[in-house]
Amino acid sequence: MSIPSAAAASRARPAAAPAAGPPNPPPPGSGAPPPPLYADRVKVYPKAVQGRWRQVKWALLTVCLAIYYVVPWLRWDRGPLAPDQAVLIDLDAGRAYFLWIEIWPEEVYYVTGLLILAALALFLATSLLGRVWCGYACPQTVWTDLFMLVERLIEGDRNARMRRDKQPWSADKVARKLAKHAVWLLIAAVTGGAWILYFVDAPSSFGPILHGEGSVATYSFIALFTTTTYLLAGWAREQVCTYMCPWPRIQGALLDENSIVVTYRNWRGEPRGKHKLGTEWDGRGDCVDCMQCVVVCPTGIDIRDGQQLECIGCGLCIDACNGVMAKVGRPPNLIGWDTLANQEARASGRKARYRLWRPRTVLYVILIAITAMVMVAALSSRASVELTVQRDRNPLFVTLADGSIRNGYTVKVSNKSWEPQTFRLSVDGLTGALLSLADAPDSLTDLSARPDAVATRRVFVTVPADSSVAESSSIVFRARRQAGGDSASHDSIFLAPRK
């Protein structure tokens, strides 16, 4: 492993912005006081860059934003009684809908499965391709990139922004800053507003929310998400990745020397130095020390310091460097996607070799397959009826006039289908036990449940007198759908007085 520790990467950080960084520590024993341990934030002014990876980043940004804003509007026909929004978390009714899948509150473990699947996919992607999630698909990256685009359109590119920030306040500066924050807030509000649509019916709620007819809770949440989007994407930016996000620390453990990551080809670039057009390249490296890789970096680091915690693997430095290499007439990809093992191989003249199938990637693929199969199996065998039985606790049993012993239970039958159903209740495991509905003792033990609802009834189990029933006996309740098919059972006990 040749990945430096996070601490080493942090120490290397001031080098990323030599103009504004704190002074280098003086050599030990020089007598001068040590510099403070606290370093102020060095404001990052990323420069615009053109190139292949920038194109990929724009494309993925568009796809991610499109998914986020379009998904609440997708329809899915579930019949007349159910909501027809494809993805909907209906908190009031306690139902979550995801295409053909419907989840009741007690089935939240499906969501757990989905999260496990997402985590494993992230593990696999990271061990294969490094931090592609961070660089291209993470919401923090996507919205920050969008906010930077706005900033660039209004305030200009890196140099213009730096210059303006140093100038005293002028009408132009105020106007541009106001415009930028206004657009940021607008994007943030649209982001927060779209989030709400995952929890309500989008077409019928969108208008009222826009016209100020939504609930206080709705506006509070929109305000909350607007504020967080504005602060995180507009102000905090790379600090979220470096200081707030736990993921970079975890990713360090997922990467190895065979992961394809953004790397600086040390062996080709060094020794670096300024280059005059027309002079020879002998005896020096390809790196002309133009700092373009640093000024385009959204987290403000120098990729030439090696793998480091702050690098989100977005590849913008590759584009910047390739532009320069083309200008000075050197081959591209001095900074490029490669594995650390290949870099060492190339440096020592051996053949580069990609190893995608490694024990860890194989393990991730197997785990993903297992999790997916378990989830598919669980979803396809999801029961449309569920039965729960709760024993009366007070009194535990009742002696009736004829000496028979009666226990009371509350049964709940969940009808998870969209048609009304009738269920026949029965009880097993105790000879002579009679089941009856508490409010209709003489009728059949049939129980009707409305579509997508829980039917609750009190029932009695009675054991005739002198039937030598034990103090406690296990019994099984069963609810069988009259229309045929599904049934559900629930264990309980029957209590009788001590003999």
């Binding site: 009366d392 606790r393 009194p395 009736l400 006039a401 508490a438």
Partner: protein, 286 residues
């Protein structure tokens, strides 16, 4: 106070002049924002003393109190359910039980009223208690178990001071020397035989005649009881005052009879109807 202001080399701030284990503390002022928040908190607390009841005998200029707020909430809640209570009051008890809407409301209201008023004697689940507090979950009713009978029992009580109360008196056969101890023992043996539990056939046979002369008038020749008179069924398995021979003999000796207050003086009509629905639903209603 330190005599000499000492500057810290790294930060340029003065120190407090004190030294603890070689460590000197910087004389750093509080952060401005912290200070302002602190002042705001002081202003807030002063405002709190002025506007809200926070000192004994000082009630605050707003006149607000937790107790008044509770009373207001309770009043609002009473207003909210008043129409429903009014409907229940105006509906005969049998009709209340037939209407799903009224029945559900009455069940919930009855359960709350039961916990407040009935549970101390009859148990939180209506299981009753030894010594004359009948179980309300079983299927024996001394004074009748249909809705009308239960409602009447709750309204006027049993052996209460109300003129319409349910009342009957079992004679004190032993204490008033109507029967001898031997006769009482024989009668108890006969009573045991009514539910098939006698072990002494001869005594039971002797008791049979005594029972016919003294007890059958109220309890019936077969001991099946009579809800008109409030005389319990002696041939079933439910025993309010104990089922062994000694307990039965004791009941004959002393004469038994529980007391229940008349609730019409304490609870309103609607509440009593709700209680009736709830008790009727406990499992033994006829």
């Amino acid at each position: 106070m330190p005599t000499k202001i000492e500057k810290d080399a790294v930060t340029g701030r003065s120190t407090t002049g004190h030294e603890w284990d070689g460590i000197k503390e910087l004389n750093t002022p509080l952060p401005r924002w912290w200070l302002y928040v602190f002042y705001a908190c002081i202003a807030w607390s002063v405002g709190y003393y002025v506007f809200y009841p926070s000192l004994p005998w000082v009630h605050g200029v707003l006149g607000w109190s937790r107790r008044a707020e509770l009373a207001e909430t309770m009043q609002a809640e009473r207003e909210r359910i008043r129409p429903m209570l009014e409907r229940i009051r105006a509906t005969p008890i049998a009709a209340v039980d037939r209407s799903p809407e009224l029945r559900d409301f009455a069940f919930a209201g009855g359960r709350a009223a039961f916990a407040d008023n009935c549970a101390p004697c009859h148990g939180a689940g209506g299981a009753g208690a030894k010594g004359g507090f009948p179980a309300l979950v079983d299927d024996e009713w001394i004074w009748g178990g249909d809705l009308a009978a239960i409602e009447r029992t709750i309204l006027y009580g049993v052996r209460s001071s109300h003129p319409d109360t349910r009342a009957s008196q079992m004679p004190r056969f032993g204490a008033d020397q109507i029967l001898t101890a031997a006769q009482i023992a024989d009668t108890a043996e006969h009573v045991l035989s009514l539910s098939g539990r006698s072990t002494d056939g001869a005594a039971a046979a002797r008791g049979s005649a005594i029972f016919a002369d003294n007890c059958a008038a109220c309890h019936g020749p077969a001991g099946r009881g009579n809800v008109e008179l409030g005389s319990p069924d002696l041939a079933d398995r439910i025993w309010l005052f104990g089922s062994d021979k000694a307990a039965i003999a004791h009941s004959i000796h002393l004469g038994r009879g529980g007391v229940m207050p008349a609730w019409n003086t304490r609870l309103d009509e609607a509440t009593i109807k709700m209680l009736t629905v709830y008790v009727h639903s406990l499992g033994g209603g006829r």
